[in-house]
Symmetry: none
Subunit: 203 residues, 2 copies
């Protein structure tokens, strides 16, 4: 048998019967409790509704993840739980009542060492990162600033000195100061530190 033992960890007999069909692909064993997971198991499908399930921040999760590839199955999936599960060390997160084809695919992917999250979560991740990865796309703070002023403000807020900015924009330090003064005036801040806090959403 090339496939590793698959532990089906659920307290729910109905769910267990449903998951039982996975036995066609993996040798399976049932576990009723979290702390009763077989020691040597390498792959597990874990019901989020297990009665003795530790919180996702619990240190037992990462310890367990060292030797066990876990798929966290929730009957009511949501982003926060999914992120928590992945961060806790789980390799997959899916709907507990997903189709057998879907579950098989998830387990396949996880067994091969990859991570699996649904497209909903992945999309949200991408949008979040997309959001976070482009500070130049100013949301509100740049209102009323000219294009040049925004450039200068952006750089100043990232810690560049006036001389740095001048060199980068190929203008004089004097001009940088001029733009910055306008920025301070328009944004109602006193110095570049306050500017940085505003630009980055602190205060």
């Amino acid at each position: 048998m090339t496939h590793p033992l698959l532990v089906l960890a659920t307290h729910d007999d109905h769910l267990a019967r449903r998951w039982h069909a996975l036995g066609e692909r993996w040798p399976i064993v049932r576990a009723n409790r979290f702390d009763a997971l077989p020691a040597g198991a390498r792959l597990a499908l874990i019901d989020a509704a297990l009665p003795d399930l530790p919180a996702l921040g619990d240190p037992r999760w990462p310890r367990l993840a060292a030797g066990l590839r876990m798929v966290f199955a929730s009957s009511r999936p949501n982003d926060a739980e999914g992120l928590g599960a992945i961060e806790a060390g789980c390799s997959g997160y899916c709907h507990a009542f997903a189709s057998l084809e879907q579950l098989t695919q998830v387990l396949d992917v996880v067994e091969s060492g990859e991570l699996w999250v649904g497209r909903a979560i992945l999309n949200r991740l991408l949008r979040a990162v997309d959001h976070a990865s482009k500070p130049p796309a100013a949301p509100g703070w740049a209102a009323g600033l000219t294009e040049r002023e925004q450039e200068v403000a952006q750089r100043a807020a990232l810690g560049e000195s006036n001389a740095d900015i001048a060199t980068a924009l190929d203008i004089t330090e004097r001009t940088v100061k001029s733009h910055l003064s306008a920025v301070f005036e328009k944004m109602g801040v006193a110095d570049r530190l306050q500017l940085a806090l505003r630009v980055h959403g602190i205060k």
Copy 2:
């Protein structure tokens, strides 16, 4: 045949031969150019090195993605390209010379309507989101700082002047400078702006 037609889009004959083995699973057809993709195709594996490949920001990508599930295969994968590919509408991003098992898995996942990215990118996404979702809780930056130094650093990072901090803590401005100098030294930053960026998780 339950599997849809798989378009192998690459200009590279070597890569095409390698991918050809996917024909055991999907009916395949070769395309040499991006604008020569068959009209009715539903699934495509696209070489990032295609000569006429549009930039990832090109509007042709989302249009194409409407009817075609694309896996973007790069011979030198990196996060930025991966994110760009997914955002452009591709359903998968992987190494062009990944193993056939891996490619099959990716295509399986994508064919079923899910998104696929490697664990490296996914991990990075998670860390990025993890980072972005908790700006107030900065646990790591204060490592090695004494209690007093942390107080001063915290206030300085929020934009308080040395005089402000001195008044607030009922000490001399000189002492504030002393603590701050120690903070700068320990954290490897040059001034309070850099400190603020570090404390608040920017840079």
